[in-house]
């Protein structure tokens, strides 16, 4: 079953008088349970494509479907609603709220989804255990290492049991050991929970985890070794 589909998406940016074509007509379909890597050099359009799939941005033209729903027809609030119940995010920088503890960071998406307190508590504890940070639950981000922070971000992304988790260069700011730990956890959770993962990277050590690799260059998909678009 398709969890997300991108049809002929383009994305243009205009900075001053200069127009940049970040995506030039991309077609991509992601099936449930995939562990897909978007690869390519800097400026190839990986992050832009992830942002379109994650409904953080709108294509200049084309369509983006999430669970069969055309997200390009949704307004800002409807996109936020769809995001909070469907999509988990892991960013390159350790995107945690610095004033909240690890527990509270993982709990935040559940609060936004209106999950009941007892279930919320159970899920947060389950996710922190899954990423091996039960003993760091009440530490704030500045009391955690980079690797630990990124594991909290993984727990947060998965706490809502999303349809798809989007990770933008999840290991770029981690050393080899921590990067491996994070990727191992993501791969394990993909297998154990069947959650779909799409991650952008240009790190060969990360690419090897992927069950499918989609290569972009100059805003176009130039290689797609998994299922074909559409």
């Amino acid at each position: 079953m398709e969890v997300t589909k991108v049809i002929n998406a383009t994305r243009d940016f205009k900075i001053g008088e200069v127009e940049t074509h970040a995506l030039r007509g991309v077609d991509l379909s992601i099936e449930n349970g995939e562990f897909t890597a978007l690869v390519g050099p800097s400026g190839s359009g990986k992050t832009t494509l992830l942002q379109l799939i994650g409904l953080l941005d709108q294509p200049t033209s084309g369509q983006v479907f999430i669970n069969g729903k055309d997200a390009t027809r949704l307004n800002r609030n409807q996109r936020a609603d769809l995001r909070k119940g469907t999509i988990g995010f892991i960013f390159q920088f350790f995107a945690l709220i610095p004033t909240l503890t690890a527990y509270e960071n993982v709990e935040m998406p559940l609060l936004l989804n209106g999950t009941k307190p007892a279930e919320r508590k159970a899920r947060v504890n389950e996710m922190l255990q899954a990423v091996g940070l039960s003993d760091r639950a009440h530490h704030r981000p500045d009391q955690l290492s980079g690797g630990q922070q990124q594991r909290v971000a993984v727990a947060r992304a998965l706490s809502i049991r999303p349809t798809v988790v989007l990770a933008d260069e999840p290991t770029a700011n981690l050393d080899t050991e921590n990067g491996k730990q994070v990727m191992d956890i993501m791969a394990r959770l993909n297998k154990e929970t069947g959650t779909t993962f799409v991650f952008a990277t240009h790190d060969p050590r990360v690419i090897k985890y992927a069950s499918r690799v989609v290569t972009l260059r100059d805003g176009l998909i130039v290689e797609n070794n998994g299922s074909s678009p559409k």
């Binding site: 994650g54 941005d57 609030n77 936020a80 609603d81 995001r83 995107a95 709220i97 004033t99 998406p109």
Partner: protein, 405 residues
């Protein structure tokens, strides 16, 4: 809501110095508002009470044709046999004291110096006039049978260089439209701490004033003090007569009341300036916070927090700032007001405005109504000031916010 409060509280703690300074700005603003409101209210409350206790009483009974601006001493403009109506008034349960007064225009002169004064003939034994007995700072108070003594105010004594026991010439208009003059002895010097009153008012016993002015058994008015000033209208209604005019303290101090309203409107400008400065500080603080936390706003937006909730987060932060500031301001403003209300705020050479008796000190007076309204105003202004930064945060595009440095 709980989570929003928790986040807002912790966010304020991220830059403690800035948060404290912002709350301090709200505090100082609230303190100034509280204090100024109390000073203004105290000033006019004091002026009104001075007017009542010295000049108007709670009620005045006058002859129907009496015009206080003309200070007429013609018998037809005066109350005949004032003792009779005074006794009737004193029999009323609401009345604390009623006493006749004869008022004449006069000129006090000594050598080359002279000054126009208001001469009041009064009953020295009356309860309502004990304020002048208590205010005697040199010499003695008058007695009812004194035929040569007068009581003058401290500023007048200083102006003429007079001491108790010295003699001075007093000229007054009389009932037959002429003038008469006589040498009087300064029996005593008084102060009511109301400069314009003390500077212009000379007292003598009623009987002597009646003789001197040719008014015989007449009085200009009956000065009435009530046990409760709020009963003035009720008592006035009960006293209605075709022979007399009954004036209440509200009628007689209309200028004070009007001036208070005018000053109140003027003070709004002052309040707006203070609140404008406070609002600018709060806006500045929160705009800085929004820019510092742009990436966090992007994260929250990415995980599904809607603009309205992001806005609520910043408004919650502003509410906490306002709470700290307003509570601090209320405490500080309350303490300053309480202290100044005890010692009084000295007004240098308070000349007052014609018809308004400002004392030489203002005793700030804070009402619960002022506290409530100013607290609400301070809160509302702080929240309005935070609307711009909160909206700024709420409208951020997640993808742009996430890429902020």
């Amino acid at each position: 809501m709980n989570q929003l409060l928790k986040m807002a509280f912790r966010d304020l703690g991220r830059n403690k110095r800035r948060s404290i300074l912002s709350a301090l700005a709200v505090s100082i603003g609230t303190t100034l508002l509280i204090f100024m409101a109390a000073v203004l209210r105290g000033e006019f409350r004091g002026a009104l009470q001075n007017g009542i206790r010295l000049q108007t009483g709670h009620l005045q009974v006058r002859a129907e044709s009496y015009d206080e601006n003309k200070v007429s001493l013609a018998w037809e403009d005066l109350i005949d046999n004032p003792a009779q109506i005074t006794n009737q008034l004193e029999a009323l349960p609401q009345v604390l004291d009623a006493t006749p007064r004869l008022i004449a225009s006069g000129i006090l002169s000594l050598g080359d110096h002279s000054r126009g004064v208001q001469v009041i003939g009064m009953d020295p034994a009356s309860e309502a006039n004990q304020i002048f007995r208590q205010g005697v700072i040199a010499g003695d108070f008058l007695t009812g049978d004194d035929r040569e003594g007068i009581l003058i105010g401290k500023p007048l004594a200083e102006r003429f260089g007079l001491s108790a026991g010295e003699r001075v010439n007093l000229l007054i208009n009389t009932s037959n439209g002429e003038v008469d003059e006589q040498l009087f002895t300064i029996r005593g010097i008084y102060t009511t701490n109301v400069f314009p009153y003390d500077e212009n008012t000379v007292f003598m016993p009623l009987a002597k004033a009646q003789t001197f002015a040719g008014a015989e058994n007449h009085a200009s008015l009956i000065f009435v003090l009530l046990k409760d000033q709020e009963q003035a209208e009720t008592v006035a209604a009960a006293l209605t007569s075709s022979n007399y005019q009954i004036q209440t303290w509200r009628d007689l101090n209309a200028l004070s009341v009007q001036f208070e309203q005018f000053a109140g409107a003027y003070m709004i400008i002052f309040y707006l300036i203070i609140l404008g400065i406070t609002a600018t500080v709060v806006t500045n603080t929160l705009v800085m916070a929004v820019y510092e936390r742009t990436r966090e706003i992007g994260i929250l937006s990415a995980i599904g927090m809607k603009g309205r909730r992001i806005m609520s987060a910043f408004l919650t932060e502003a509410t906490l700032l306002a709470t700290g500031g307003v509570v601090g301001g209320l405490i500080l403003g309350g303490l300053i007001t309480a202290y100044v209300a005890k010692v009084g705020l000295i007004i240098p050479a308070a000349q007052g405005v014609t018809g308004i008796l400002l004392g030489d000190k203002i005793y700030p007076y804070l009402t619960s109504q002022d506290v409530i309204s100013l607290t609400i105003v301070a809160y509302v202004i702080t929240l309005i000031a935070s609307l711009y930064p909160a909206t700024l945060a709420a409208r951020m595009e997640p993808v742009e916010a996430l890429h902020a440095q």
